[in-house]
């Protein structure tokens, strides 16, 4: 389904989704991030890209698995499967959209993760094509994506200046459009031509090149023991910015949070974890197989451009560029891949 939506009617459509929780980018604290939209009038799609990725809607930073307590000396477990309201997220950039099928694969491969899917199945992603790259570090086209890629999105919107072209990509997306059907107009031939022109222009903007991805995977495989990694991680501070902001990083940790030690009451909780933290691979014995920052950088890069490819036939990177832009010390995954490729 393809429709035209004027800038003013966007509010009407959002208001028609009143039985859902609607989120959209908002500029607060000097940063764009997803925030709850209470009314259509609050929506602002002039954003660049959000600092946090859309993964958090299906894979929140904290997920309670179950509660536990001791009753008459016997442990009792109470499952706590999330049951969220249908959620619609506006303004998802195509790179983030492409991240979701990659996360879906992970949480569905050998074991269907009920917590992830309880949220994911209620989630409708409304994408917004990028008419031009937001930052010099965008590289979606270098990893098989595009500024108007539909993969992973339920709806793709394209900004045509005074109006949006809105395309329902999945059944879920079409349904969300149906709910605001009065807001939409038919697509004219002129509109269609303009969308194609805008998309073509968006693809023509120069992005950071990456070269042949198969060759990169091969180069990474061969440089496992290379001293390059330590050199490239020389200024790494070992924080979690690159992975926490990444639309595809999905590693987690599971902890028991004891509320009352006397009654043994508590929760088992999943939280995001991060391969750059020293305790990520810490063994009980005290030995850490990835004890230095070089091996941790290698792990992050290898996972995205080699291991994930081996397992799932695609890169675990969609070129959003957050890890480059937000790195406090300028570690640049493209420069890293270039150097590994040249070695």
């Amino acid at each position: 389904m393809e429709k035209i939506l004027s800038q003013e009617k966007l509010r009407e459509w959002v208001d028609a989704l009143d039985d859902c929780e609607v989120y959209a980018p908002a500029f607060a604290d000097s940063v764009w991030n997803f925030a709850r939209v209470k009314a259509g009038a609050d929506i602002d799609l002039s954003h660049t890209n959000t600092i946090g990725s859309v993964k958090e809607f299906a894979f929140p930073q904290r997920e309670v698995f179950f509660c536990f307590e001791k009753k008459d000396g016997v442990p009792v477990l109470t499952p706590t499967l999330p049951d969220p309201k249908p959620t619609v997220v506006f303004g998802v950039r195509p790179c983030d959209g492409r991240g979701m099928p990659r996360n879906d694969t992970v949480f569905n491969k050998e074991f269907e993760d009920p917590y992830y899917w309880a949220r994911r199945n209620k989630l409708t992603l409304v994408g917004l094509a990028c008419n031009q790259p937001h930052s010099p570090n965008c590289f979606c086209q270098s990893v098989g994506g595009s500024p108007h890629a539909e993969e992973g999105l339920d709806i793709l919107m394209t900004d045509l200046g005074d109006r949006f072209h809105v395309k329902g990509v999945t059944a879920k997306g079409v349904e969300a459009m149906e709910r605001g059907r009065d807001a939409f107009d038919a697509v004219s031939d002129a509109d269609q031509a303009e969308v194609e022109k805008v998309h073509a222009t968006s693809r023509s903007h120069s992005q950071r090149p990456l070269g042949n991805l198969d060759a990169i995977a091969e180069a990474i495989r061969e440089s496992f023991d290379s001293p390059l990694w330590a050199d490239m991680a020389q200024h790494c501070i070992g924080c979690g910015i690159c992975t926490f902001l990444c639309p595809t990083c999905h590693c987690f940790d599971i902890n028991d949070e004891v509320i009352n030690p006397t009654t043994g009451e508590g929760e088992r909780v999943r939280t995001w974890d991060n391969c750059q933290f020293p305790d990520f691979t810490m063994h009980t014995s005290g030995h850490n197989p990835r004890g230095d920052l070089g091996s941790r950088l290698r792990q992050r890069v290898s996972h995205k451009f080699l291991y994930f490819v081996e397992n799932h036939k695609t890169q675990q990177c969609t070129g959003c560029g957050r890890c480059i832009t937000e790195c406090p010390v300028g570690i640049d995954i493209i420069a890293v891949l270039e150097r590994v490729g040249q070695s």
């Binding site: 949070e257 509320i259 508590g266 929760e267």
Partner: protein, 148 residues
């Protein structure tokens, strides 16, 4: 008395105080209050520590995190420290903790310090009673308490 339901609510709220008491003075002071049969509020959970100077700011944050309505730290009067200067170091450190807690907007009445010697059972009872009354007015501490 115009709002009976509210009055009941206030009456049922019993503030919980975590009291870190120096073993050389305030802890003995609280014992003295007990053996002297001084009536005072039973809302403080005493934790005996070797010296007020040994209080880590983490104890205070942790107590608030686990739901304490108030935290009291009580040590020896200036000049009386068993370890010569522990209470002076505590005074400086805890002044900063107090300022920091106020800065982030925790109600300033919730963190308190006192000097109570082993002979001051009456003062100890007064300090606790006063604290409990102030906390009753404030109500439960929810700002730093973990939402678990």
């Amino acid at each position: 008395m115009s709002n009976p339901s509210k009055t009941t609510e206030v009456q049922t709220f019993e503030p919980r105080i975590v009291a870190f008491l120096c073993k050389w003075c305030s802890s003995a002071g609280s014992d003295l209050a007990g053996v002297s049969r001084i009536q005072y509020s039973a809302n403080a959970t005493p934790i005996t520590i070797p010296c007020s100077g040994s209080v880590s700011p983490m104890y205070i944050l942790s107590a608030f995190n686990k739901g304490a309505d108030g935290v009291l730290i009580s040590g020896c009067h200036p000049g009386d420290c068993h370890y010569m200067e522990g209470n002076y170091l505590a005074r400086r450190k805890l002044y900063l903790v107090k300022e920091l807690l106020q800065f982030i907007g925790l109600e300033s009445e919730r963190f308190r310090m006192s000097w109570v010697s082993a002979a001051e059972g009456v003062k100890f009872a007064e300090v606790v009673d006063e604290f409990v009354e102030d906390l009753r007015v404030l109500g439960p501490q929810n700002r730093l308490k973990a939402e678990r």
